[in-house]
């Protein structure tokens, strides 16, 4: 059975935070780069809406999971760089564990045959 993969995937509620935190684990970067990174690594399946990216960044900052500072970008422009705080690193681990459990559970329910076959 062949099915055309969807060109875009809607982001699930609450997953954007996890994606941002995971992206920042690689090192400090600015908002635009975060969006592009998520888009690129998800093979363009995930498109981050700018309308939700910046509120999310500021929310995470308010929660103390990420910190921001003005630095110069590669092209020498002033950009707001975000980096993971220790609290954010811990949060990322918990969220990641939760997500793995969740996706395994979803997989088990949706594809019982795959499991049996293995």
């Amino acid at each position: 059975m062949s099915q055309k993969p969807p060109s875009r995937v809607e982001l699930l509620q609450g997953t954007l935070d996890l994606l941002i935190l995971r992206t920042l684990r690689a090192g400090p970067t600015h908002g635009h780069a975060i969006a592009k990174h998520i888009q690129r690594t998800s093979e363009d399946l995930l498109q981050v809406e700018t309308g939700s990216l910046y509120p999310a960044l500021h929310r995470l900052e308010a929660q103390g999971w990420i910190a921001a500072s003005w630095e110069l970008s590669d092209k020498g422009k002033r950009a707001r760089y975000y980096r993971l705080t220790p609290a954010g690193r811990k949060q990322l681990e918990t969220e990641q564990l939760k997500w793995h459990a969740f996706s395994r559970a979803m997989g088990l329910v949706l594809n019982p045959a795959d499991q049996e076959a293995q």
Binding site: H32, Y54, A62, K75, R80
Partner: protein, 924 residues
């Protein structure tokens, strides 16, 4: 807490954050268009595409901003802003509501500040909670009979419903308490204000002045744990016969006369012409153990024998042994860990045994008082007994005012909530939560209340000044230190917030309970009859009825107080109050001794009589209103008359005071020491003792103990004149010359009948007395009218305050009535238009509105008239010449209230009658 502060910081840095966000988004756009350009798009296209990609920038900013601030704080700020805007748009409403609240809160804060100063504030000493006061209780009035262990007293006994109570004890009782109480009390100490020290003649560096003194036992200051401002306080060793006479002075006195606290110790002063050494200064906040007395000088108790030596009524060493003479007041400090109940249990029994040993016969033994150990943190309660009841009456009154103001504002809010139905329905239908809307409405009411509270504190400051002046002018010896402290401010704040909640909650709850569709559809003038509006009408009507009822109660109380005052003012004095100057002098305290005192007064009287404009001069032991001493006097052959009062007077007394003589003559210059002893009796004494017989020429015996001291011939009968106060019945009185033997007199009150304003003679009087004896200070210089007004000061205060409060209450209630009726008329414009179109007369329309007012008022009256009859009983003790159920006061109150209510209703009624039917119907 941490995140709270972080958010606060963010609020402050808001502007910078805004700039940051703008820059950040701009950077994003630049970056995006750079990339697009790199992919080969044209410059314009790249920029547009990037913009498209970012979406609605304002929305992004809005959403981001929402994550910054603490939402509820921001909502609060929003609510406050919205509330402030609403208040600005309804200036009249806001002013009216805030003003009535401010008056209510201000009045309450004022009265509370006095209650606080009087009842709640502790003595300014260490650990006041462990102080106790010792008192005795007995059967009501038992102390007035001969069958009671207390045979003599210097102080006060109070009668109340539970019996008689006093804090006076004989000195041996103090020694008993020290010994028997050692287990429960760490300190027992005593003090008193006997006549020896009540007024002291102080001479400092040659200057004479009057001071009030307090006699204290040696462990008084130690027991109270008072620390001196300078020098030392009185020690146990100072308080014994033969000790060097020392004095501790108040901080005020040290500043005024001794060059400050630091210079005072070591100075010599003359007290009643006896040398004392000032050893120390009391701390500035200390006012003694009784807030009613603010002593200038504290003296060791045993010095009273020195001070009293020259006075025939003065204290003697024998007083310290006398078991049946009650003159000292006792306080104690509980040992750590001992409770009041334990101390009471430990002391009661042994006191009973001790007091039984002082009884002289079986009758006294059957009537023994019992001991009570009572809380002493607030010190003695003379002041409280004088003022607490009137203050509670006032507190009730101002509480009612606040209730009226609150319900009034609640009503205004209800009416306004009704006109905001559309607004609120719109907000609810747009998704606002009910709680959110209630919170916003409550913010409005609390903001209003806080505004009212702020003005209220301002009114309270004015009120406190006014009331202090009013109380002080009443009794000059009593000072209440009311001030704006944190207790009072806390109460004012709590009152504001509470009232805001109270009057805001009901309207807010009710206005958010809406049928949205109906409310949104509803046209302004169409009837709002329905379940909800029924509820609202009944709430607002209930509030109005309550206001009317309370206003009537206050009007009745004001009426009763005003009647009392006018009764007192029109009371028949029996003498002429106009143009009389009174002042007191004391030759003994100025250093004179018998037999030089009487000639000095006689000489002084002649000097005063020569002042131009002075028509008559006389003197008496006290003024007529201040009088109150009794002595056994009998008609030969009949038993002494208990009720007889005496007044020793100088020549021309009746002439000077213009007390009419019914028969015989006044005392004249020819009645002097050595001439035949004479007396003048008043009408009442003549009637009681001689009936229809002519008393002239009859004799009276004045007794000293068991011996006849004076045999006096009655030479005159005077018309009854007030004696000892305006409220008291005029007793049988015997007037006799002050200088014809026992009992001798020391201080005397001179009375000058002047031509014109008596106060314009004060200067010449001071000069004349100064010429006679420069050491002689004058006290209590006042006109007779002033003395009478002082006697009525409590009645004057109550009448004026209560009238002011009642008018305030009436005004607020009428404003409420007016507001509600105006709103009703506005709401019923359509209906009234239809009635008029159908032929209703204007008069009928006016009546229709007034009828509603009248019904409300009548319901209010029906509730409050019985309530007034019941509550008026509580103020019975303040009344004079009128009963609590005085029909005239009631009728006047009802008339005033009804006319005010109808007046308040008439304006909206007129407006209703002016409705043009065509306009009203077109409006529909």
């Amino acid at each position: 807490m941490n995140s709270f502060f972080r958010k606060l910081t963010w609020l402050r840095q808001r502007r910078r954050k805004e700039d940051d966000l703008r820059d950040e988004l701009q950077f994003h756009l630049d970056e995006e268009s750079d990339q697009l350009r790199a992919q080969g798009l044209a410059d314009d296209e790249a920029r547009q595409s990037a913009r498209r990609d970012l979406g609605n920038i304002t929305l992004v900013k809005e959403d981001t901003r929402a994550t910054w601030s603490w939402t509820s704080l921001e909502q609060l700020v929003q609510d406050l802003r919205y509330a402030a805007r609403t208040m600005r748009n309804n200036k009249a409403f806001t002013a009216l509501a805030a003003l009535s609240l401010a008056l209510g809160i201000g009045a309450n804060t004022t009265i509370f500040s006095f209650l606080d100063a009087l009842l709640l504030r502790s003595l300014p000493v260490a650990d006041p909670a462990s102080l106790v006061v010792l008192r005795w209780h007995s059967k009501l009035g038992a102390w007035r009979t001969d069958d009671f262990v207390m045979e003599g007293m210097h102080g006060e006994v109070y009668d109340d419903a539970s019996g008689s109570v006093s804090d006076l004890f004989p000195y041996p009782a103090f020694q008993f308490f020290q010994k028997a109480g050692a287990g429960v009390f760490s300190d027992v100490f005593t003090y008193c204000h006997t006549r020896d020290v009540r007024t002291l003649n102080l001479t400092i560096k040659g200057q004479a002045d009057i001071a009030s003194g307090e006699l204290v036992s040696g462990d008084y200051f130690h027991g109270l744990r008072v620390v001196p401002a300078s020098g030392r306080l009185i020690f146990a060793d100072d308080d014994r016969f033969g000790a060097a006479p020392v004095a501790v002075v108040s901080h005020v006195l040290a500043d005024k006369h001794l060059g400050g606290a630091n210079n005072a110790p070591g100075q010599s002063i003359l007290i009643d012409n006896l040398p004392f050494t000032v050893v120390g200064v009391a701390p500035p906040e200390f006012f003694g153990a009784d807030a009613a007395q603010v002593p200038d000088v504290y003296l060791p108790m045993h010095t009273n024998v020195l001070l009293g030596a020259a006075d025939s009524y003065g204290s003697t060493a024998g007083d310290y042994l006398e078991q049946n003479d009650y003159w000292i007041q006792v306080m104690a400090r509980l040992r750590p860990g001992v409770t009041l109940a334990q101390a009471q249990a430990a002391m009661a029994g042994s006191f009973q045994q001790w007091i039984a040993t002082t009884a002289k016969n079986d009758k006294q033994r059957a009537n023994l008082p019992t001991l009570a150990v009572e809380e002493g943190a607030t010190g003695l309660d003379t002041l409280r007994r004088h003022f607490s009841k009137p203050l509670f009456v006032l507190m009730t009154l101002v509480g009612s005012i606040l209730a009226i103001a609150c319900s009034n504002v609640a009503n205004l809010f209800l009416a306004r909530a009704a006109s905001r139905r559309c607004e609120i329905a719109l907000r609810l239908s747009l998704g606002a939560g009910r709680l959110r809307v209630i919170r916003q409405l409550l913010t409005e009411s609390v903001l209003l209340a806080v505004l009212g509270g702020m003005f209220g504190v301002f009114f309270a400051i004015l009120g406190m000044r006014f009331l202090s002046v009013l109380l002080e002018s009443g009794s000059r010896q009593i000072t209440i230190h009311a001030d704006l402290n944190w207790h009072v401010l806390a109460v004012a704040t709590a009152l504001s917030l509470l009232t805001g909640m109270l009057f805001g909650l009901a309207p807010a709850m009710q206005s958010t309970r809406l049928d949205l569709v109906a409310a949104l559809k509803e046209a302004r003038a169409s009837g709002t009859r329905g379940q909800h509006s029924f509820w609202r009408i009944s709430i607002s009507q209930t509030l109005l009825v309550g206001q009317i009822a309370l206003a009537l109660l206050m009007l009745v109380a004001a009426g009763l107080f005003v009647r009392t005052l006018s009764n007192l003012e029109s009371v028949e004095l029996g003498f002429n109050r106009e143009n009389v100057l009174l002042f007191q002098v004391d030759a003994q305290k100025a250093g004179r001794r018998e037999p030089n005192i009487a000639p000095f007064y006689s000489d002084l009287r002649k000097r005063l009589a020569s002042i131009p404009g002075v028509r008559h001069v006389s003197l008496a032991e006290t003024s007529l209103l201040g009088a109150g001493s009794s002595h056994p006097i009998t008609v030969p052959g009949s038993p002494p008359h208990d009720a007889t009062r005496i007044l020793s007077i100088g020549p021309d007394f009746l002439t000077t005071m213009q007390i009419p003589l019914l028969a015989g003559r006044d005392i004249e210059d020819r009645d002097h020491p050595g001439s035949p002893a004479i007396a003048i009796i008043n009408q009442r004494f003549a009637r009681d003792n001689f009936g229809d017989q002519n008393p002239l020429g009859r004799h009276l015996i004045l007794w000293k103990g068991k011996d006849p001291a004076r045999d006096m011939e009655i030479v005159g009968v005077a018309k009854n004149a007030r004696y000892g106060g305006l409220k008291e019945q005029i007793p049988p009185v015997v007037y006799f010359p002050y200088d014809q033997g026992y009992p001798p007199r020391n201080e005397m009150v001179f009375a000058l009948r002047t031509a014109g304003d008596p106060l314009s003679y004060v200067r010449s009087v001071l000069e004349t007395v100064g010429q006679a004896d420069p050491r002689m200070p004058l006290t209590d210089v006042q006109t007779q009218t002033e003395e009478i007004n002082e006697d009525m000061s409590q009645e004057t205060t109550l009448a004026s305050l209560c009238t002011a409060f009642a008018l305030l209450a009436l005004t607020i209630a009428c404003v409420g009535l007016y507001g509600t009726m105006s709103y009703t008329v506005a709401r019923r414009t359509g209906e009234i238009g239809i009635r008029m179109a159908l032929g209703a007369q204007r008069r009928a329309v006016v009546w229709m509105v007034l009828r509603e007012v009248a019904i409300l008022a009548l319901v209010g009256l029906a509730i409050s008239i019985p309530a007034a009859l019941i509550t008026a009983k509580f103020i019975e003790s303040f009344l004079f010449g009128t009963k609590p159920s005085d029909p005239l006061s009631m009728a006047i109150a009802v008339t005033i209230l009804l006319s005010a209510a109808l007046l308040a209703g008439y304006v909206p009624a007129r407006r209703a009658a002016r409705i043009d039917p065509m306009n009203a119907l077109r409006h529909e």
